[in-house]
């Protein structure tokens, strides 16, 4: 039944996200006349710019079958190291390079344990989350450091390129790069294959360890960069900078249709889900909901983003089974067979 299959193609996760996005935007426009102003639209991105840049690399890591819980702590550490070095009298340029290097080192350290010692990334990056935040606390204790050079803080604030900030332009460039790297390059295919089946990828001769290592080093570098962006945007740094950003970042990726088990997901989906989360937060701000309610809603969104596909799949299977009972089909082909296998398989309780 080709027509039915075409119709089902429309029921992709991305389509659903686009519909949700339009709904959220429609409600936002109804709610506030300021929503469509350039200022608000720039702010929409600007206020979460660090999170959405890190979400791009997190997409690669989760598709690859791993997770990085430590990104927020790496961001905090890089910001604190920059502030501490600057406070000690190091030139800002050197401090920036040192902070970026520290981010890469953090990523490489965890990548080593995950890729070469085969430790679970959940445990390693949880340790990283505590360890790097602890190091940030050692550096700044309970002080807050500010008064960075003018050119540095200007980088984090608006009006660099027309109404756009440096961060927004960087995000757009990185999004295009990530899109090409994930969907139109050999590296991207390797990321998917490894995420689907690590052993099969290894037997096929893919450099599994090197790919994982590269992803974690990149994740550290980008988190370090975003820590600097955060320092530039806020103008001051405290030891708790970027704390708990991982919730938003992981929510954006999973809501984008990336499976937590790895192997599936698209960059377009993540892009759409980033827009959904940003618009939702912005709309709630316009409606004067406090930050904590917003965080709760994001948490609920995180759970819903996995629960909903599960329910949809169950419903579809039930529908297929009913259809099969009504009129017996010829021997089921690839797709159906896979689905029937899924019904027999016990559902994984969780994958650490």
């Amino acid at each position: 039944m080709p027509r039915l299959r075409d119709w089902r193609e429309l029921l992709r996760w991305e389509t659903l996200l686009a519909v949700i996005l339009l709904l959220v935007i429609a409600v936002n426009i109804q709610m506030s006349p300021h929503f469509l102003g350039t200022r608000n639209l720039v702010n929409l991105f600007q206020l979460s710019i660090e999170k959405i840049i890190v979400a791009l690399i997190m997409t690669f890591i989760i598709i690859n079958g791993e997770i990085d819980l430590s990104v927020a702590s790496v961001m905090g550490l890089s910001a604190c190291l920059f502030a501490w070095l600057y406070e000690q009298g190091t030139p800002a340029e050197v401090a920036i390079l040192a902070a970026l290097a520290a981010g890469m080192l953090c990523g490489a350290f965890m990548g080593f344990w995950i890729a070469y010692a085969n430790l679970p990334s959940l445990a390693v990056t949880l340790a990283g989350l505590i360890l790097y935040r602890g190091m940030a606390r050692i550096l700044l204790e309970d002080r807050s450091v500010g008064q960075f050079p003018h050119w540095f803080t200007r980088l984090g604030q608006t009006d660099q390129f027309g109404p756009l900030s440096f961060g927004i332009v960087l995000f757009v460039v990185l999004f295009v790069v990530a899109l090409i790297a994930l969907h139109f390059s050999a590296f991207g295919r390797h990321v998917y294959v490894i995420g689907n089946n690590r052993s099969a990828a290894r037997y096929a001769g893919l450099k599994v360890r090197r790919t994982k290592m590269a992803l974690f080093v990149l994740s550290g570098l980008i988190a370090g960069l975003c820590g600097l962006l955060l320092a530039a945007r806020l103008g001051t740094v405290r030891a708790n900078a970027a704390e708990e950003f991982e919730l938003d970042i992981i929510t954006m990726v999973l809501l984008g249709g990336v499976s937590i088990f790895g192997g599936t997901g698209t960059m377009i989906g993540v892009g759409l889900s980033i827009l959904v989360v940003l618009n939702l937060r912005n709309g709630m701000s316009l409606a004067h909901y406090s930050g904590n309610i917003q965080t709760s809603v994001v948490g609920a969104l995180l759970i819903a983003s996995v629960l909903l596909p599960n329910l949809l799949r169950d419903a579809r299977q039930m529908w297929l089974r009913r259809g099969a009972r009504r009129r017996p089909r010829p021997v089921a082909g690839g797709q159906e067979e896979e689905e029937s296998r899924q019904t027999v398989d016990p559902k994984p309780i969780a994958r650490s």
Partner: protein
């Protein structure tokens, strides 16, 4: 040699080495800090460790099934706040009612986690990362900027942490610490002797196989989350008794210390192995480090970095060393089995 290998199970080797590390750490701090071997040090460590121990018992149940619960800190904070608010409005409330309230609320929050994980088929890390934020958000919204104050609490609750159960030499075993110890022992017995405990190990070792073998995996995992929630509720009650002043960010970050204790105590983060006794030793080690670093005038900010390093070390030794020890143990068991079977034929 084989007989030694037979007597010492891999978990016991792990616990013994943890015990040796604890002794070493105590001796080290004893040589660095004046008046270290005093009842006061013991009191400080035991009262700082008891809450972590109680919550970590629940966390161990969950981790054994190859799941994780990050939301415990929010459950502790929320139950502490709600229980504190109820008792300050109604000082005549009996202790049993208050404890039941804390346990019930905790269990209900754990039930939500468990339903989503076991019946919604959502990975535990996703569910509990979400509920960590949701429960905290509910607390902030519910509590606002109002704090629970010590002066509103009844005397029995404020005095509870100082109630002494019995004294060994100069060391006082406080009631709450004894309760925490009892919970650890009871759940250790549950793990060893009850069918439910064995199921936790079976599910954690291989969820698919456990399901194929006909074990009620969903119910078992659900109950693990409910128990974890209830024990976190009890932890919330202890937190209320010990701290007294509860704000809406109470117990924030506690889940990190709990998971650190569980992992350092040798409970495999991939599920299927670990004991309550090991977890307790892990919690005690962390508690000793925390309190001793404060006494050594070392900046308290170093604490978190140490905890992070310890988790990484524990996970790394588990993966790199313990698997080999377990292999060795299994092989020697097979040899012994073979020897027993061939022995009678020779006679």
């Amino acid at each position: 040699m084989t007989s030694i290998r037979r007597i010492l199970r891999p978990e016991q080797i792990r616990e013994l080495s943890l015990l040796l590390i604890i002794v070493g750490v105590v001796l080290f701090f004893g040589s660095q800090i004046d008046n270290y071997y005093t009842p006061r040090t013991f009191q400080r460590i035991s009262s700082s460790v008891m809450i972590i121990m109680v919550v970590a018992v629940g966390e161990t149940l969950v981790v054994l099934t190859r799941n994780i619960d990050l939301s415990v800190s929010s459950i502790v904070g929320l139950t502490a706040y709600v229980a504190g608010q109820q008792i300050s409005q109604n000082n005549d409330m009996s202790p049993a009612t208050l404890i039941a309230l804390a346990l019930g609320l905790g269990a209900a929050l754990g039930l939500i986690n468990g339903l989503l994980v076991a019946y919604g088929n959502i990975p535990a890390i996703v569910v509990t990362l979400g509920t960590l934020a949701i429960y905290r958000g509910v607390l902030v919204q519910y509590g606002g900027s109002k704090n629970i104050l010590v002066r509103d609490l009844p005397d029995w609750l404020v005095d509870l942490p100082r109630v002494n159960l019995f004294t060994i030499g100069e060391f006082e075993i406080r009631l709450l610490f004894a309760v925490a110890l009892a919970i650890v022992i009871v759940f250790q017995l549950v793990l060893v002797y009850l069918a439910y405990g064995r199921r936790l190990y079976a599910i954690g070792s291989n969820p698919d196989a456990a399901q194929m073998a006909g074990l009620p995996t969903r119910r078992t995992v659900l109950l693990a989350f409910v128990l974890c929630g209830a024990l976190s509720g009890l932890g919330g009650f202890m937190y209320l008794a010990r701290i007294g002043t509860i704000s809406s960010n109470a117990a924030q970050g506690l889940h990190m210390q709990v998971i650190a204790a569980v992992v350092v105590g040798g409970v495999n983060i991939f599920g299927g192995s670990g004991t309550m006794i090991g977890m307790m030793l892990g919690a005690v080690l962390m508690g000793i480090l925390e309190q001793s670093l404060i006494r050594m005038q070392i900046n308290e900010f170093w604490k978190d970095a140490f905890f992070g390093l310890f988790i990484l070390l524990a996970v790394a030794t588990d993966a790199l060393l313990m698997n080999r020890v377990r292999d060795l143990w299994a092989r020697s068991a097979a040899q012994l089995h073979l020897a027993r079977r061939t022995a009678p034929q020779k006679e």
